[in-house]
Symmetry: D2
Subunit: 140 residues, 4 copies
Protein backbone atom coordinates (compact mmCIF):
# COMPACT_ATOMS: atom_id res chain seq x y z
CA UNK A 1 0.00 0.00 0.00
CA UNK A 2 1.05 3.58 -0.44
CA UNK A 3 0.60 6.88 1.37
CA UNK A 4 -0.26 9.87 -0.82
CA UNK A 5 0.38 13.48 0.15
CA UNK A 6 -0.27 16.80 -1.59
CA UNK A 7 1.83 19.93 -1.27
CA UNK A 8 2.33 23.37 -2.84
CA UNK A 9 5.88 24.59 -3.58
CA UNK A 10 6.65 27.67 -1.45
CA UNK A 11 8.62 30.76 -2.44
CA UNK A 12 11.34 30.11 0.15
CA UNK A 13 11.91 26.68 -1.44
CA UNK A 14 13.00 28.26 -4.72
CA UNK A 15 16.43 29.77 -5.39
CA UNK A 16 17.91 32.46 -7.63
CA UNK A 17 17.86 30.03 -10.59
CA UNK A 18 14.05 30.31 -10.32
CA UNK A 19 13.43 26.65 -9.43
CA UNK A 20 13.32 24.47 -6.33
CA UNK A 21 16.65 24.08 -4.46
CA UNK A 22 17.62 20.40 -4.64
CA UNK A 23 17.69 19.39 -0.95
CA UNK A 24 14.12 20.66 -0.39
CA UNK A 25 13.00 17.34 -1.90
CA UNK A 26 14.38 15.56 1.15
CA UNK A 27 12.61 17.93 3.55
CA UNK A 28 9.35 17.18 1.74
CA UNK A 29 10.08 13.45 1.93
CA UNK A 30 10.43 13.72 5.71
CA UNK A 31 7.23 15.77 5.86
CA UNK A 32 5.37 12.91 4.14
CA UNK A 33 6.94 10.42 6.58
CA UNK A 34 5.87 12.56 9.58
CA UNK A 35 2.35 12.90 8.22
CA UNK A 36 2.02 9.13 7.75
CA UNK A 37 3.19 8.55 11.35
CA UNK A 38 0.60 11.02 12.65
CA UNK A 39 -2.07 9.34 10.47
CA UNK A 40 -1.29 6.01 12.17
CA UNK A 41 -1.77 7.54 15.63
CA UNK A 42 1.85 8.27 16.59
CA UNK A 43 2.57 11.49 18.56
CA UNK A 44 5.40 13.20 16.60
CA UNK A 45 6.58 15.30 19.56
CA UNK A 46 7.32 12.15 21.55
CA UNK A 47 8.47 10.09 18.55
CA UNK A 48 11.12 12.59 17.44
CA UNK A 49 12.41 13.47 20.92
CA UNK A 50 15.46 12.11 22.69
CA UNK A 51 13.52 11.05 25.76
CA UNK A 52 12.40 7.59 24.69
CA UNK A 53 14.29 4.29 24.65
CA UNK A 54 14.91 4.19 20.90
CA UNK A 55 15.38 6.50 17.92
CA UNK A 56 15.24 5.79 14.18
CA UNK A 57 17.85 8.07 12.57
CA UNK A 58 18.30 8.24 8.81
CA UNK A 59 21.53 6.47 7.88
CA UNK A 60 21.28 6.93 4.12
CA UNK A 61 19.33 9.09 1.69
CA UNK A 62 19.26 9.82 -2.04
CA UNK A 63 17.30 11.63 -4.73
CA UNK A 64 17.02 11.96 -8.51
CA UNK A 65 15.62 14.98 -10.31
CA UNK A 66 13.87 14.73 -13.69
CA UNK A 67 12.08 18.05 -14.13
CA UNK A 68 12.45 21.44 -12.42
CA UNK A 69 9.70 22.52 -9.99
CA UNK A 70 8.81 26.12 -9.21
CA UNK A 71 6.84 28.36 -6.82
CA UNK A 72 3.15 27.47 -6.68
CA UNK A 73 3.49 24.03 -8.31
CA UNK A 74 1.07 21.50 -6.81
CA UNK A 75 2.82 18.19 -6.12
CA UNK A 76 1.50 14.72 -5.42
CA UNK A 77 3.96 12.63 -3.42
CA UNK A 78 3.55 8.86 -3.12
CA UNK A 79 5.40 7.05 -0.31
CA UNK A 80 6.08 3.29 -0.13
CA UNK A 81 7.64 1.71 2.98
CA UNK A 82 9.33 -1.65 3.47
CA UNK A 83 11.06 -3.24 6.42
CA UNK A 84 14.53 -4.39 5.48
CA UNK A 85 15.61 -6.18 8.65
CA UNK A 86 13.98 -6.33 12.06
CA UNK A 87 16.00 -3.19 12.91
CA UNK A 88 15.68 -1.24 9.67
CA UNK A 89 13.18 0.19 7.20
CA UNK A 90 13.26 2.12 3.96
CA UNK A 91 10.86 4.75 2.57
CA UNK A 92 10.61 5.48 -1.17
CA UNK A 93 9.03 8.67 -2.43
CA UNK A 94 7.86 9.53 -5.95
CA UNK A 95 7.01 13.13 -6.88
CA UNK A 96 4.47 14.04 -9.58
CA UNK A 97 2.93 17.28 -10.75
CA UNK A 98 -0.70 17.08 -9.63
CA UNK A 99 -2.90 15.88 -12.45
CA UNK A 100 -0.03 14.52 -14.54
CA UNK A 101 0.28 10.91 -15.70
CA UNK A 102 1.83 8.55 -13.18
CA UNK A 103 4.48 7.48 -15.72
CA UNK A 104 6.09 10.92 -15.68
CA UNK A 105 7.43 11.74 -12.26
CA UNK A 106 9.34 14.95 -11.60
CA UNK A 107 11.66 13.44 -8.98
CA UNK A 108 12.17 10.49 -6.65
CA UNK A 109 13.87 10.06 -3.28
CA UNK A 110 14.47 7.54 -0.51
CA UNK A 111 15.43 7.48 3.17
CA UNK A 112 16.81 4.46 5.04
CA UNK A 113 16.25 4.39 8.82
CA UNK A 114 17.87 2.20 11.47
CA UNK A 115 16.36 1.69 14.91
CA UNK A 116 18.92 2.10 17.68
CA UNK A 117 18.84 2.07 21.45
CA UNK A 118 19.07 5.68 22.67
CA UNK A 119 21.59 4.80 25.40
CA UNK A 120 23.88 2.24 23.80
CA UNK A 121 23.52 3.54 20.19
CA UNK A 122 23.30 -0.14 19.11
CA UNK A 123 20.75 -1.60 16.68
CA UNK A 124 17.56 -3.05 18.15
CA UNK A 125 14.34 -4.38 16.66
CA UNK A 126 11.62 -1.93 15.65
CA UNK A 127 9.15 -1.01 18.44
CA UNK A 128 5.54 -2.17 18.16
CA UNK A 129 4.18 1.20 17.08
CA UNK A 130 6.51 1.25 14.07
CA UNK A 131 5.62 -2.35 13.18
CA UNK A 132 1.94 -1.31 13.27
CA UNK A 133 2.74 1.68 11.03
CA UNK A 134 4.69 -0.56 8.61
CA UNK A 135 1.82 -3.05 8.40
CA UNK A 136 -0.43 -0.35 7.01
CA UNK A 137 1.85 -0.36 3.97
CA UNK A 138 2.11 -4.12 3.50
CA UNK A 139 0.02 -5.57 0.69
CA UNK A 140 -2.39 -8.30 1.82
CA UNK B 1 -12.01 40.49 6.56
CA UNK B 2 -9.39 37.90 7.40
CA UNK B 3 -7.71 34.94 5.73
CA UNK B 4 -7.37 31.81 7.86
CA UNK B 5 -4.78 29.08 7.26
CA UNK B 6 -4.00 25.80 9.02
CA UNK B 7 -0.59 24.21 9.34
CA UNK B 8 1.24 21.41 11.18
CA UNK B 9 4.66 22.14 12.73
CA UNK B 10 7.32 20.01 11.00
CA UNK B 11 10.33 18.29 12.57
CA UNK B 12 12.82 20.40 10.58
CA UNK B 13 11.20 23.54 12.05
CA UNK B 14 12.21 22.55 15.60
CA UNK B 15 15.71 22.96 17.06
CA UNK B 16 17.83 21.26 19.71
CA UNK B 17 15.92 23.14 22.44
CA UNK B 18 12.94 20.99 21.40
CA UNK B 19 10.75 23.87 20.17
CA UNK B 20 10.20 25.88 16.99
CA UNK B 21 13.18 28.00 15.85
CA UNK B 22 12.09 31.65 16.02
CA UNK B 23 12.41 32.77 12.39
CA UNK B 24 10.21 29.90 11.16
CA UNK B 25 7.27 32.08 12.19
CA UNK B 26 8.15 34.50 9.41
CA UNK B 27 8.40 31.70 6.83
CA UNK B 28 4.92 30.57 7.86
CA UNK B 29 3.66 34.17 7.59
CA UNK B 30 4.90 34.34 4.01
CA UNK B 31 3.31 30.96 3.30
CA UNK B 32 -0.05 32.36 4.40
CA UNK B 33 0.49 35.45 2.21
CA UNK B 34 1.34 33.23 -0.81
CA UNK B 35 -1.72 31.07 -0.22
CA UNK B 36 -4.01 34.12 -0.05
CA UNK B 37 -2.57 35.43 -3.34
CA UNK B 38 -3.18 32.05 -5.03
CA UNK B 39 -6.72 32.02 -3.58
CA UNK B 40 -7.41 35.37 -5.26
CA UNK B 41 -6.30 34.01 -8.65
CA UNK B 42 -2.70 35.28 -8.76
CA UNK B 43 -0.04 33.00 -10.33
CA UNK B 44 2.78 32.87 -7.72
CA UNK B 45 5.46 31.85 -10.23
CA UNK B 46 4.90 35.05 -12.20
CA UNK B 47 4.15 37.21 -9.14
CA UNK B 48 7.42 36.36 -7.35
CA UNK B 49 9.67 36.47 -10.43
CA UNK B 50 11.89 39.29 -11.60
CA UNK B 51 10.37 39.38 -15.07
CA UNK B 52 7.45 41.72 -14.46
CA UNK B 53 7.35 45.51 -14.20
CA UNK B 54 7.02 45.70 -10.41
CA UNK B 55 7.95 43.79 -7.26
CA UNK B 56 6.68 44.10 -3.69
CA UNK B 57 9.66 43.37 -1.43
CA UNK B 58 9.32 43.23 2.34
CA UNK B 59 10.90 46.34 3.84
CA UNK B 60 10.14 45.58 7.49
CA UNK B 61 9.09 42.61 9.56
CA UNK B 62 8.61 41.73 13.22
CA UNK B 63 7.32 39.01 15.53
CA UNK B 64 6.45 38.36 19.17
CA UNK B 65 6.45 34.94 20.81
CA UNK B 66 4.14 34.07 23.70
CA UNK B 67 4.24 30.27 23.95
CA UNK B 68 6.63 27.65 22.56
CA UNK B 69 5.41 25.47 19.68
CA UNK B 70 6.68 21.98 18.93
CA UNK B 71 6.68 19.19 16.31
CA UNK B 72 3.18 18.07 15.34
CA UNK B 73 1.37 21.11 16.81
CA UNK B 74 -1.61 22.13 14.68
CA UNK B 75 -1.69 25.90 14.18
CA UNK B 76 -4.40 28.26 13.02
CA UNK B 77 -3.00 31.43 11.46
CA UNK B 78 -5.20 34.47 10.85
CA UNK B 79 -3.98 37.13 8.41
CA UNK B 80 -5.28 40.71 8.16
CA UNK B 81 -4.15 43.05 5.37
CA UNK B 82 -4.32 46.83 5.04
CA UNK B 83 -3.07 49.26 2.44
CA UNK B 84 -0.96 51.95 4.03
CA UNK B 85 -0.30 54.23 1.07
CA UNK B 86 -1.01 53.72 -2.62
CA UNK B 87 2.45 52.11 -2.83
CA UNK B 88 2.50 50.10 0.39
CA UNK B 89 0.60 47.44 2.34
CA UNK B 90 0.97 45.64 5.64
CA UNK B 91 0.02 42.07 6.63
CA UNK B 92 -0.63 41.10 10.26
CA UNK B 93 -0.57 37.47 11.35
CA UNK B 94 -1.87 35.94 14.56
CA UNK B 95 -0.94 32.36 15.52
CA UNK B 96 -3.17 30.11 17.65
CA UNK B 97 -3.06 26.48 18.66
CA UNK B 98 -5.95 24.87 16.78
CA UNK B 99 -9.00 24.60 18.99
CA UNK B 100 -7.74 27.12 21.55
CA UNK B 101 -9.56 30.29 22.53
CA UNK B 102 -8.93 33.27 20.27
CA UNK B 103 -7.83 35.38 23.25
CA UNK B 104 -4.71 33.26 23.75
CA UNK B 105 -2.45 33.46 20.76
CA UNK B 106 0.90 31.69 20.72
CA UNK B 107 2.63 34.33 18.57
CA UNK B 108 2.07 37.26 16.23
CA UNK B 109 3.98 38.70 13.29
CA UNK B 110 3.79 41.32 10.57
CA UNK B 111 5.34 42.09 7.18
CA UNK B 112 5.36 45.51 5.48
CA UNK B 113 5.65 45.50 1.68
CA UNK B 114 6.45 48.35 -0.69
CA UNK B 115 5.67 48.23 -4.41
CA UNK B 116 8.60 49.33 -6.54
CA UNK B 117 9.32 49.57 -10.24
CA UNK B 118 11.63 46.66 -11.16
CA UNK B 119 13.86 48.85 -13.34
CA UNK B 120 14.12 52.11 -11.43
CA UNK B 121 13.69 50.61 -7.92
CA UNK B 122 11.42 53.59 -7.12
CA UNK B 123 8.03 53.40 -5.39
CA UNK B 124 4.96 53.10 -7.59
CA UNK B 125 1.27 52.51 -6.91
CA UNK B 126 0.05 48.96 -6.36
CA UNK B 127 -0.95 47.08 -9.54
CA UNK B 128 -4.63 46.22 -10.13
CA UNK B 129 -4.26 42.56 -9.15
CA UNK B 130 -2.94 43.54 -5.70
CA UNK B 131 -5.70 46.13 -5.25
CA UNK B 132 -8.22 43.37 -6.07
CA UNK B 133 -6.51 41.08 -3.53
CA UNK B 134 -6.52 43.85 -0.89
CA UNK B 135 -10.24 44.52 -1.43
CA UNK B 136 -11.04 40.97 -0.39
CA UNK B 137 -9.80 41.96 3.05
CA UNK B 138 -11.58 45.31 3.33
CA UNK B 139 -14.63 45.36 5.55
CA UNK B 140 -17.77 46.61 3.78
CA UNK C 1 31.76 47.30 22.43
CA UNK C 2 30.65 45.43 19.36
CA UNK C 3 31.12 41.96 17.87
CA UNK C 4 31.86 41.85 14.13
CA UNK C 5 31.20 38.86 11.91
CA UNK C 6 31.74 38.17 8.21
CA UNK C 7 29.62 35.97 6.01
CA UNK C 8 29.02 35.07 2.36
CA UNK C 9 25.44 34.86 1.06
CA UNK C 10 24.69 31.25 -0.04
CA UNK C 11 22.64 30.09 -3.02
CA UNK C 12 20.01 28.42 -0.82
CA UNK C 13 19.46 31.79 0.91
CA UNK C 14 18.23 33.39 -2.33
CA UNK C 15 14.76 32.92 -3.82
CA UNK C 16 13.17 32.99 -7.28
CA UNK C 17 13.17 36.81 -7.20
CA UNK C 18 16.98 36.51 -7.38
CA UNK C 19 17.68 38.05 -3.97
CA UNK C 20 17.92 36.98 -0.32
CA UNK C 21 14.66 35.69 1.23
CA UNK C 22 13.73 38.10 4.02
CA UNK C 23 13.79 35.84 7.10
CA UNK C 24 17.36 34.66 6.35
CA UNK C 25 18.47 37.90 7.99
CA UNK C 26 17.21 36.60 11.33
CA UNK C 27 19.02 33.27 10.88
CA UNK C 28 22.23 35.22 10.26
CA UNK C 29 21.56 37.34 13.33
CA UNK C 30 21.31 34.21 15.46
CA UNK C 31 24.49 32.87 13.84
CA UNK C 32 26.34 36.00 14.98
CA UNK C 33 24.88 35.61 18.50
CA UNK C 34 26.01 31.94 18.62
CA UNK C 35 29.47 32.85 17.41
CA UNK C 36 29.85 35.54 20.07
CA UNK C 37 28.80 33.07 22.78
CA UNK C 38 31.38 30.55 21.56
CA UNK C 39 33.99 33.33 21.46
CA UNK C 40 33.33 34.05 25.15
CA UNK C 41 33.89 30.39 26.07
CA UNK C 42 30.30 29.13 26.18
CA UNK C 43 29.59 25.58 24.89
CA UNK C 44 26.68 26.03 22.44
CA UNK C 45 25.54 22.39 22.64
CA UNK C 46 24.91 22.76 26.38
CA UNK C 47 23.71 26.39 26.17
CA UNK C 48 20.99 25.67 23.60
CA UNK C 49 19.80 22.37 25.10
CA UNK C 50 16.83 21.78 27.37
CA UNK C 51 18.87 20.02 30.02
CA UNK C 52 20.02 23.03 32.04
CA UNK C 53 18.17 25.07 34.67
CA UNK C 54 17.44 28.08 32.45
CA UNK C 55 16.84 29.00 28.83
CA UNK C 56 16.87 32.38 27.06
CA UNK C 57 14.19 32.20 24.36
CA UNK C 58 13.63 35.03 21.92
CA UNK C 59 10.40 36.82 22.82
CA UNK C 60 10.52 39.48 20.13
CA UNK C 61 12.37 40.11 16.88
CA UNK C 62 12.32 42.57 14.01
CA UNK C 63 14.17 43.61 10.86
CA UNK C 64 14.35 46.37 8.27
CA UNK C 65 15.64 45.93 4.72
CA UNK C 66 17.30 48.76 2.80
CA UNK C 67 19.02 47.08 -0.15
CA UNK C 68 18.65 43.64 -1.74
CA UNK C 69 21.45 41.11 -1.18
CA UNK C 70 22.31 38.29 -3.54
CA UNK C 71 24.33 35.05 -3.88
CA UNK C 72 28.03 35.54 -3.22
CA UNK C 73 27.68 38.94 -1.50
CA UNK C 74 30.19 39.36 1.33
CA UNK C 75 28.50 40.83 4.41
CA UNK C 76 29.89 42.44 7.53
CA UNK C 77 27.53 42.14 10.49
CA UNK C 78 27.99 44.24 13.62
CA UNK C 79 26.27 43.12 16.83
CA UNK C 80 25.64 45.28 19.91
CA UNK C 81 24.21 43.81 23.12
CA UNK C 82 22.58 45.47 26.11
CA UNK C 83 20.96 44.10 29.23
CA UNK C 84 17.47 45.48 29.67
CA UNK C 85 16.52 44.09 33.07
CA UNK C 86 18.26 41.53 35.24
CA UNK C 87 16.23 38.90 33.35
CA UNK C 88 16.41 40.25 29.83
CA UNK C 89 18.83 41.35 27.10
CA UNK C 90 18.60 42.70 23.58
CA UNK C 91 20.93 42.20 20.58
CA UNK C 92 21.05 44.69 17.70
CA UNK C 93 22.54 43.74 14.35
CA UNK C 94 23.60 45.98 11.49
CA UNK C 95 24.36 44.51 8.05
CA UNK C 96 26.81 46.09 5.60
CA UNK C 97 28.28 45.05 2.27
CA UNK C 98 31.93 44.33 3.02
CA UNK C 99 34.08 47.33 2.14
CA UNK C 100 31.16 49.76 2.01
CA UNK C 101 30.86 52.89 4.12
CA UNK C 102 29.42 52.35 7.59
CA UNK C 103 26.74 54.97 6.96
CA UNK C 104 25.07 52.79 4.33
CA UNK C 105 23.81 49.58 5.84
CA UNK C 106 21.89 47.05 3.77
CA UNK C 107 19.68 45.90 6.65
CA UNK C 108 19.26 45.87 10.42
CA UNK C 109 17.66 43.47 12.89
CA UNK C 110 17.17 42.84 16.59
CA UNK C 111 16.34 39.99 18.94
CA UNK C 112 15.04 40.35 22.52
CA UNK C 113 15.73 37.45 24.88
CA UNK C 114 14.23 36.68 28.29
CA UNK C 115 15.85 34.31 30.76
CA UNK C 116 13.37 31.84 32.22
CA UNK C 117 13.55 28.90 34.58
CA UNK C 118 13.30 25.71 32.49
CA UNK C 119 10.88 24.07 34.93
CA UNK C 120 8.58 26.87 36.02
CA UNK C 121 8.82 28.93 32.78
CA UNK C 122 9.04 32.05 35.01
CA UNK C 123 11.55 34.89 34.58
CA UNK C 124 14.80 34.67 36.54
CA UNK C 125 18.00 36.69 36.56
CA UNK C 126 20.65 36.03 33.92
CA UNK C 127 23.19 33.31 34.84
CA UNK C 128 26.82 34.28 35.48
CA UNK C 129 28.09 33.07 32.11
CA UNK C 130 25.65 35.39 30.29
CA UNK C 131 26.58 38.30 32.55
CA UNK C 132 30.24 37.64 31.69
CA UNK C 133 29.34 37.56 27.96
CA UNK C 134 27.35 40.81 28.28
CA UNK C 135 30.23 42.56 30.02
CA UNK C 136 32.40 42.03 26.97
CA UNK C 137 30.02 44.38 25.16
CA UNK C 138 29.79 47.06 27.84
CA UNK C 139 31.76 50.22 27.17
CA UNK C 140 34.19 51.11 29.96
CA UNK D 1 43.40 17.36 -5.70
CA UNK D 2 40.85 18.24 -3.08
CA UNK D 3 39.15 21.35 -1.72
CA UNK D 4 38.91 21.60 2.06
CA UNK D 5 36.35 23.71 3.90
CA UNK D 6 35.66 24.36 7.59
CA UNK D 7 32.30 25.04 9.14
CA UNK D 8 30.55 25.29 12.52
CA UNK D 9 27.18 23.57 13.02
CA UNK D 10 24.49 26.20 13.70
CA UNK D 11 21.55 25.98 16.10
CA UNK D 12 18.99 26.20 13.29
CA UNK D 13 20.59 23.14 11.69
CA UNK D 14 19.70 20.96 14.67
CA UNK D 15 16.26 19.50 15.36
CA UNK D 16 14.23 18.42 18.40
CA UNK D 17 16.19 15.15 18.55
CA UNK D 18 19.18 17.34 19.50
CA UNK D 19 21.29 16.58 16.43
CA UNK D 20 21.70 17.83 12.87
CA UNK D 21 18.66 17.37 10.58
CA UNK D 22 19.71 14.99 7.80
CA UNK D 23 19.27 17.14 4.68
CA UNK D 24 21.48 19.92 6.10
CA UNK D 25 24.41 17.81 4.95
CA UNK D 26 23.42 18.49 1.34
CA UNK D 27 23.13 22.24 1.96
CA UNK D 28 26.66 22.17 3.37
CA UNK D 29 27.86 20.18 0.36
CA UNK D 30 26.50 22.87 -1.95
CA UNK D 31 28.12 25.55 0.22
CA UNK D 32 31.51 23.86 -0.30
CA UNK D 33 30.84 23.67 -4.06
CA UNK D 34 29.94 27.40 -4.16
CA UNK D 35 33.03 28.32 -2.19
CA UNK D 36 35.29 26.34 -4.55
CA UNK D 37 33.72 28.10 -7.57
CA UNK D 38 34.34 31.52 -5.97
CA UNK D 39 37.92 30.45 -5.16
CA UNK D 40 38.51 29.72 -8.85
CA UNK D 41 37.30 33.20 -9.84
CA UNK D 42 33.69 32.45 -10.79
CA UNK D 43 31.02 35.05 -9.90
CA UNK D 44 28.30 33.04 -8.10
CA UNK D 45 25.55 35.59 -8.78
CA UNK D 46 26.00 35.18 -12.53
CA UNK D 47 26.81 31.45 -12.37
CA UNK D 48 23.62 30.54 -10.49
CA UNK D 49 21.26 32.84 -12.40
CA UNK D 50 18.98 31.94 -15.29
CA UNK D 51 20.37 34.64 -17.54
CA UNK D 52 23.29 32.78 -19.09
CA UNK D 53 23.34 30.22 -21.93
CA UNK D 54 23.81 27.15 -19.74
CA UNK D 55 22.99 25.85 -16.28
CA UNK D 56 24.35 22.86 -14.34
CA UNK D 57 21.44 21.49 -12.28
CA UNK D 58 21.90 18.63 -9.85
CA UNK D 59 20.30 15.50 -11.33
CA UNK D 60 21.20 13.11 -8.51
CA UNK D 61 22.35 13.34 -4.90
CA UNK D 62 22.96 11.02 -1.97
CA UNK D 63 24.36 10.91 1.56
CA UNK D 64 25.34 8.46 4.29
CA UNK D 65 25.45 9.28 8.00
CA UNK D 66 27.86 7.58 10.41
CA UNK D 67 27.82 9.74 13.53
CA UNK D 68 25.41 12.41 14.81
CA UNK D 69 26.57 16.04 14.72
CA UNK D 70 25.34 18.77 17.03
CA UNK D 71 25.29 22.54 17.60
CA UNK D 72 28.78 24.05 17.77
CA UNK D 73 30.59 21.05 16.23
CA UNK D 74 33.50 22.12 14.04
CA UNK D 75 33.50 20.20 10.75
CA UNK D 76 36.15 19.70 8.11
CA UNK D 77 34.66 18.94 4.70
CA UNK D 78 36.79 17.57 1.87
CA UNK D 79 35.47 17.82 -1.70
CA UNK D 80 36.71 15.84 -4.72
CA UNK D 81 35.45 16.57 -8.23
CA UNK D 82 35.58 14.50 -11.41
CA UNK D 83 34.21 15.01 -14.88
CA UNK D 84 32.11 12.07 -15.96
CA UNK D 85 31.34 12.97 -19.56
CA UNK D 86 31.94 16.19 -21.47
CA UNK D 87 28.50 17.30 -20.22
CA UNK D 88 28.58 16.03 -16.65
CA UNK D 89 30.56 16.15 -13.41
CA UNK D 90 30.30 14.68 -9.94
CA UNK D 91 31.35 16.11 -6.55
CA UNK D 92 32.11 13.87 -3.57
CA UNK D 93 32.14 15.26 -0.04
CA UNK D 94 33.55 13.71 3.12
CA UNK D 95 32.71 15.15 6.54
CA UNK D 96 35.03 14.89 9.55
CA UNK D 97 35.00 16.34 13.04
CA UNK D 98 37.85 18.87 13.05
CA UNK D 99 40.98 17.35 14.55
CA UNK D 100 39.77 13.75 14.19
CA UNK D 101 41.56 11.06 12.24
CA UNK D 102 40.83 11.01 8.52
CA UNK D 103 39.77 7.34 8.73
CA UNK D 104 36.73 8.21 10.81
CA UNK D 105 34.36 10.39 8.88
CA UNK D 106 31.03 11.45 10.33
CA UNK D 107 29.20 11.49 6.99
CA UNK D 108 29.64 11.52 3.22
CA UNK D 109 27.63 12.90 0.32
CA UNK D 110 27.70 13.42 -3.44
CA UNK D 111 26.04 15.59 -6.08
CA UNK D 112 25.93 14.81 -9.81
CA UNK D 113 25.52 17.80 -12.15
CA UNK D 114 24.61 17.88 -15.84
CA UNK D 115 25.28 20.89 -18.05
CA UNK D 116 22.27 21.83 -20.16
CA UNK D 117 21.44 24.59 -22.61
CA UNK D 118 19.16 27.08 -20.81
CA UNK D 119 16.82 27.40 -23.81
CA UNK D 120 16.58 23.87 -25.20
CA UNK D 121 17.11 22.05 -21.86
CA UNK D 122 19.37 19.62 -23.78
CA UNK D 123 22.82 18.43 -22.67
CA UNK D 124 25.83 20.39 -23.88
CA UNK D 125 29.55 20.27 -23.10
CA UNK D 126 30.84 22.05 -20.01
CA UNK D 127 31.77 25.73 -20.51
CA UNK D 128 35.42 26.79 -20.30
CA UNK D 129 35.15 28.28 -16.82
CA UNK D 130 33.90 24.95 -15.42
CA UNK D 131 36.64 23.05 -17.24
CA UNK D 132 39.18 25.42 -15.66
CA UNK D 133 37.57 24.83 -12.24
CA UNK D 134 37.65 21.05 -12.78
CA UNK D 135 41.32 21.11 -13.75
CA UNK D 136 42.20 22.52 -10.34
CA UNK D 137 41.05 19.17 -8.94
CA UNK D 138 42.82 16.93 -11.46
CA UNK D 139 45.97 15.25 -10.21
CA UNK D 140 49.01 15.92 -12.40
Amino acid sequence: MTFTYHRTVRFIETDAAGVVYFSRLLEWSHEVYETSLIASGIDPQRFFSRSQAWVTPIVETGAKFFQPMTCGDRLEIVMRVESVFTSEFRCDYEFFFEGSQREFHTAQAFTRHVCIDTETRKRRSLPDELIAWLQVFVDP
